[in-house]
């Protein structure tokens, strides 16, 4: 069953929509410690573009663009990065925030109370947000690609 996908208008629009969607997903991930959001919603936002590609390009066309093995590797790398960041503070405890309140990299001291928000604060929280964002994006994309590529195979 050859699957050509939808018309050229839909393909072009889905290519154009890659940039705002990925930028918005990265914004949600990077500001996870300042605004509502974080690694999970940001990864889910970035995974919507994969769903759009699957619908627009069809089963065979999207197989050339999206590689399952790369996504599988990214999933493992995200989880390993998260575990490594958790283990990096093992000198105090597991999951100790060893970067917070040091005054240098990601260690801006924040007093209690409302403030406009400083991007380089939060210790290891932004880094963990990035790791979890990579993992969720890769896992959701891989799940969608696998489930989509099996559907319609009535011959097997």
């Amino acid at each position: 069953m050859s699957d050509e996908g939808m018309s050229v208008i839909v393909k072009t629009v889905s290519c154009v929509l890659v940039v705002p969607t990925v930028v918005f997903g990265l914004y949600v991930i990077m500001h996870g410690h300042l605004t509502p959001g974080g690694g999970f919603p940001g990864g889910a936002v970035m995974a919507t573009i994969v769903a759009l590609f699957l619908v627009a390009y069809g089963k065979d066309g999207s197989r050339k663009i999206l590689k399952k093995d790369c996504l599988s590797a990214a999933e493992s790398i995200g989880l390993l990065l998260f575990a490594a960041l958790a283990f990096a503070g093992i000198s105090v405890t597991f999951f100790s925030n060893f970067l917070a309140n040091t005054g240098n990299w990601f260690g801006t001291v924040i007093p209690f109370g409302p403030n406009p928000g400083y991007l380089v604060s939060g210790g290891v929280l932004p880094l963990m947000n990035i790791a979890v964002g990579i993992e969720v994006f890769a896992a959701l994309s891989a799940i969608m690609i696998l489930m989509f590529s099996y559907s319609g195979d009535d011959s097997k």
């Binding site: 300042l34 509502p36 974080g38 409302p114 928000g117 896992a139 799940i143 489930m147």
Partner: protein, 112 residues
């Protein structure tokens, strides 16, 4: 005093269990399990609500009276786990449809 929010939680969970018990279609059973998960999420969030509180985020916050943050964090965990479980159940449904050519649970027994 009965709160309408907890009654809504009870109705959602009962609706999900009704779908799991009485429906025959596998996809509807999966939907019922998702509805049970939504009811549990609503229960967790409404458990931590505080009167007049805002979301526990200090960026440009107008006040410091906030709702409880721990139930919200647990709800975030629960949502992602529910998503993973739903994806796995739907994959099993796809595989079973490939084998049986049917989604009805009464036509074929599971341990046939």
């Amino acid at each position: 005093m009965i709160s309408i929010h907890f009654v809504a939680v009870a109705l959602l969970i009962s609706l999900g269990i009704y779908a799991v018990v009485f429906r025959r279609n596998l996809i509807k059973i999966v939907m019922g399990i998702s509805v049970i998960g939504s009811g549990v999420n609503l229960f967790l969030v409404s458990l931590g609500y505080r009167e007049g509180g805002i979301a526990p985020i200090f960026t440009n916050a107008p006040q410091t009276a906030m709702v409880l943050p721990v139930p919200q964090a647990l709800t975030l965990t629960s949502i992602v786990i529910g998503l993973a479980v739903t994806a796995l159940m739907l994959s099993f449904t796809i595989m079973l449809y490939g084998h049986w050519k049917s989604l009805d649970t009464r036509k074929r027994r599971l341990l046939e």
